[in-house]
């Protein structure tokens, strides 16, 4: 007799629908699972046999073949156990077969028949809803996560017997109490809000460090607000102790809240890493990997299914402190995500594409000792400086739209009044973003930083003085074509922050002052 059940497997960030077909027929007793299953799925045989017997059902002493379709997709993880077990029961007549077509099953089996939560419940729920399943049955511990998806009935099954009851038209188990307080452990600085009601991103997400803590550094603060408003990649440089890191950590607090689509994406990524997710993320991710990170750690792919920092920073901020200390290979690995907003991981036995559209914020010392330009303290020789510049230069700097230099004397004034607060800055950022969204509605980008050359021509109208300045800049060889585009994008954002539809000379002047170009001591060698 043949029975069919539905479940899902996770391949990178994609969730694949898997149909489990179980055939029970006369022959030598045995249990075979076919269909590109990995070790965890093959071991399911033993778990399922024991679970069925320990739950008081009969395990058919016949020839059982379980096929996981489609046959060309690799199936990983123990989440398919529950579906296979139910299909075996249905094929041997212990469970009505019709209901199995409408309920997706997702969970790992324990030997006593209990259902354990498996990684990626949110992604599975999302896929089940799109696949048109009526309900999704899974373990109580991952039910809160799955319930974040609208339009899908989530049924709790804590035991194989409950699954049989649900598939026979009975009720599911009770939803367990949410273990919110204990889930906080290990969440680290990951942006998310456990108190929010679980519906998309309406929390203001203003928890965390506030921009008002920064004293002085008016222009650096301004640069950060510009970067946040236009989604520009930014570089902060300055001597140690001037507040580069402090400033960068506050960027997340002035970014607009996640849209509901973005929130689902971000939460799905969290869910994939095996972290408990009880509510949709409301704050943008802020990832700050240490500079000893490897290329595999940054983009992912160290082992099957491992997710890199750039993916975890998707829709948020990737902060690289001490940029010049990162290894060359690591920084090179950033090129694709910065260019395409995604990473494609190809390894011998798997390949996957992850979304990775983030805002890059980097901080660096101006020279190896850190004190270049700070009085006469710098003791670096020309060779040291050249080495330092070489590490920073190249494709990465090409992708950075604006640079701000922090200086010590300004940072040292603790009595300076707070210039702004995160709430105020965020309001301006939101205004500017709304203006951008209205202007870029026809194009498939959301922020000025992602405008291509054609959009620049259409959306950046300079006044006469600005045009003259731009001509002078290229005449003097101060701007390459690419540099000019970056300056125009930043100028567009500055105008947006001021609420101006036209890009004025003063916007262009500020953008030019923020351009990341070498200094007198840096650009003299040809």
């Amino acid at each position: 007799m043949l029975a069919r059940a539905h479940t899902f497997t996770i391949d990178g960030l994609r969730t694949r629908h898997v149909t489990v077909e179980v055939d029970v027929r006369r022959g030598l007793p045995g249990f075979t699972i076919v269909g590109l299953a990995d070790a965890a799925v093959r071991e399911a045989r033993e778990r399922i046999t024991a679970a069925i017997l320990n739950s008081g059902y009969e395990f058919p002493a016949r020839r059982i073949t379980a096929n996981l379709a489609p046959g060309d997709v690799r199936k990983a993880g123990p989440g398919l156990d529950l579906a296979i077990a139910c299909a075996v029961l249905a094929a041997s007549g212990q469970l009505p077969r019709e209901e199995l077509d409408r309920v997706a099953l997702f969970g790992e089996m324990a030997l006593d028949g209990a259902v354990r939560p498996a990684r990626g419940a949110l992604a599975v729920a999302h896929a089940a809803q799109r696949a048109g399943m009526r309900a999704l049955a899974l373990a109580g511990a991952s039910a809160h996560e799955a319930r974040l998806i609208d339009g899908l009935e989530v049924t709790v099954v804590e035991h194989l017997r409950s699954a049989v009851r649900v598939c026979s038209g009975g009720p599911g188990d009770a939803l367990p109490e949410r273990a919110g307080a204990s889930a906080r452990a290990g969440a680290g600085e990951r942006a998310r809000d456990e108190e929010a009601g679980g519906r998309p991103a309406d929390g203001d997400g203003l928890a965390g460090p506030d921009l008002g803590d920064v004293r002085g550094q008016e222009h650096a603060v301004r640069a950060i607000v510009i970067a946040a408003a236009g989604g520009h990649n930014a570089l902060l440089s300055g001597p140690p102790g001037t507040g580069k890191t402090m400033l960068a950590q506050r960027i997340a607090s002035i970014l607009p809240p996640l849209s509901s689509a973005e929130a689902v994406e971000v939460t799905r990524i969290h869910s994939l890493t095996g972290e408990r997710v009880d509510a949709l993320a409301t704050r943008r991710p802020f990832r700050a990997p240490h500079h000893s990170i490897t290329a595999a750690g940054l983009v992912g792919g160290a082992s099957r299914g491992s997710v890199g920092e750039v993916v975890l920073a998707h829709n948020g901020v990737l902060f690289l402190d001490e940029l010049s200390e990162f290894s060359r290979a690591t920084l090179e690995a950033l090129r694709q995500p910065l260019e395409d907003g995604r990473v494609a991981i190809a390894r011998a036995n798997h390949s996957a594409v992850y979304p990775a559209r983030f805002m890059l914020v980097a901080a660096t010392n101006p020279c190896p000792c850190g004190y270049a330009g700070d009085g006469d303290r710098c003791g670096c020789g020309e060779a040291d400086m050249a080495r330092h510049r070489r590490r920073l230069s190249g494709p990465l700097l090409d992708r950075i739209d604006l640079a701000s230099v922090l200086r010590r004397e300004v940072a040292d004034d603790p009595r300076a009044p707070a210039l702004t607060s995160s709430a105020r800055a965020r309001e301006r950022v939101l205004d500017a973003r709304a203006r951008q969204a209205a202007r870029l509605a026809g194009d498939d980008v959301a922020v000025n930083a992602h405008m291509d050359v054609r959009m620049l021509q259409r959306h950046v109208r300079l006044d006469a003085r600005g045009q003259e300045m731009l001509r002078a800049a290229s005449r003097r060889g101060m701007l390459s074509a690419r540099g000019e585009h970056r300056v125009l994008r930043v100028a567009r954002t500055i105008a947006d922050l001021d609420g101006s539809e036209r890009v004025r000379a003063q916007d262009l002047g500020a953008a030019l002052a923020l351009r990341p170009e070498p200094t007198v001591t840096g650009n003299r060698a040809a």
């Binding site: 922090l406 030019l512 007198v520 040809a526």
Partner: protein, 406 residues
């Protein structure tokens, strides 16, 4: 061969001068030991061949003496020159390295002193060297560890001088020297690079492209054979060629160390006019220049002051300069060398005020804002002044006024 050398018609050096150059390269090791005492090294280099052998050759004296005696009988000069061409073919650069000796007519007259090099290898052509050395030559000296201020001053000084028809000379090392060559190139003029080792090996890799541009527009000279690494002594020895070529030596930025001040003191000892650009008294990188100024060096604020010194020196430059500045030496990059006074008087008021503020120390956007300028206006003014070439970006987010070009 030597007869041909004296007429100056044929390229190449006479055998005696080539032998001297060979001897120096053979004695490179012992000379490097002697270089601990800079002034003794200069004295040694003034010795005749035999005396020099006796003074420094040590245990290899007999062997070297025998080789020295045999030198004329073999054709090592031709050999060297052939080998040189081979390296050129491989490297693909400096195709026209010429060798000249002080018996030739096109040998720079300025180098006729007692300790002058006997032979020079010239990349870029002996004719180019003669042309550059016939104009007044200014040596730009300074520390290899320079601040952005020093770099900017050196570059502006060289640019202004080169645009006025004066030849700029300097070594090709970090800091001030490299900035001076870059400045001369900006004015579209050639400069004289005095190398501290053989032309094939002396240039540090990071200045390779600058060196090639200098050779393309001007020339590079060295008294050592093509592939002889000059080491430390070669660098010191090249300082004497540099200051002797020049009628005025300008120290742009230097600490008060024997190392940084050596070339300037040598210039004074050789009777050249020594000048210095002042810096901030609190900066260690200006201690050397200030010490020199205290000792009576002339104070230089820009190219104009150096030209003044050249006239006073009685150089026969006046005629040449006035004829040259109109045509061949006219600045190429428009705007870059625009006269500071003229462009400043034509400035809008807010730009002039900003420029003055930056010059007076309000040199970052933050400082300007705290001095009461509106943030947006400050950035606009700074960017506009940068576009005009009146400000440049220094280290640490500061802006610095570019060196006046007159």
């Amino acid at each position: 061969m030597s007869a041909a050398g004296r007429t100056g018609g044929e390229p190449g050096a006479c055998a005696r001068c080539a032998r001297r150059s060979w001897l120096l390269s053979m004695l490179s090791g012992p000379l490097d030991c002697c270089a601990r005492d800079r002034w003794r090294l200069i004295e040694l280099l003034a010795l005749a061949d035999e005396e020099l052998l006796r003074a420094v050759a040590g245990t290899r004296k007999a062997d070297l003496h025998a080789q020295y005696a045999r030198f004329g009988s073999e054709p090592p000069v031709e050999e060297t020159r052939t080998r040189m061409r081979e390296t050129d073919a491989q490297g693909g650069i400096e195709a026209d390295v010429e060798t000249i000796c002080h018996h030739r007519r096109d040998y720079p007259h300025a180098l006729d002193g007692p300790a002058a090099p006997h032979m020079l290898e010239v990349a870029g052509g002996a004719a180019r060297l003669a042309e550059l050395a016939s104009a007044p030559v200014v040596a730009v000296l300074g520390s290899t560890r320079a601040s952005d201020y020093g770099i900017e001053m050196a570059r502006g000084l060289a640019r202004g001088l080169a645009a006025s028809g004066v030849s700029v000379a300097g070594s090709v090392t970090d800091g001030i020297a490299a900035a001076a060559h870059a400045g001369a190139l900006e004015a579209g003029a050639g400069s004289i690079a005095v190398m501290g080792g053989g032309l094939g090996v002396a240039c540090p890799a990071r200045w390779r492209s600058l060196y090639e541009r200098v050779v393309h527009a001007g020339c590079a000279v060295s008294e050592l054979p093509h592939d002889c690494a000059g080491r430390r002594w070669g660098q010191l020895a090249s300082a004497r060629i540099l200051v002797e070529l020049a009628s005025v030596a300008v120290l742009v930025e230097a600490d008060e160390t024997a190392e940084d001040l050596f070339a300037a003191r040598l210039a004074r000892a050789r009777g050249r006019t020594v000048a210095a650009i002042p810096g901030r008294v609190t900066s260690p990188l200006s201690r050397g220049t200030h010490a020199l100024l205290m000792d009576g060096a002339s104070l230089v604020r820009g190219p104009g002051d150096v030209l003044e010194l050249l006239y006073r020196c009685g150089e026969a430059a006046a005629g040449r300069r006035s004829s040259a500045s109109g045509s061949a030496w006219a600045p190429v990059s428009a705007g870059a060398t625009a006269s500071g006074e003229d462009s400043q008087s034509g400035l809008r008021r807010e730009l002039r005020l900003t420029l003055e503020r930056v010059g007076a120390g309000c040199d970052t956007p933050d400082k300007l804002t705290r001095a009461g300028v509106d943030a947006a206006e400050a950035l606009l003014a700074l960017s506009e002044l940068e576009l005009m070439g009146l400000l440049a970006r220094g280290d640490g987010g500061r802006y610095l006024p570019t060196a006046p070009s007159n």
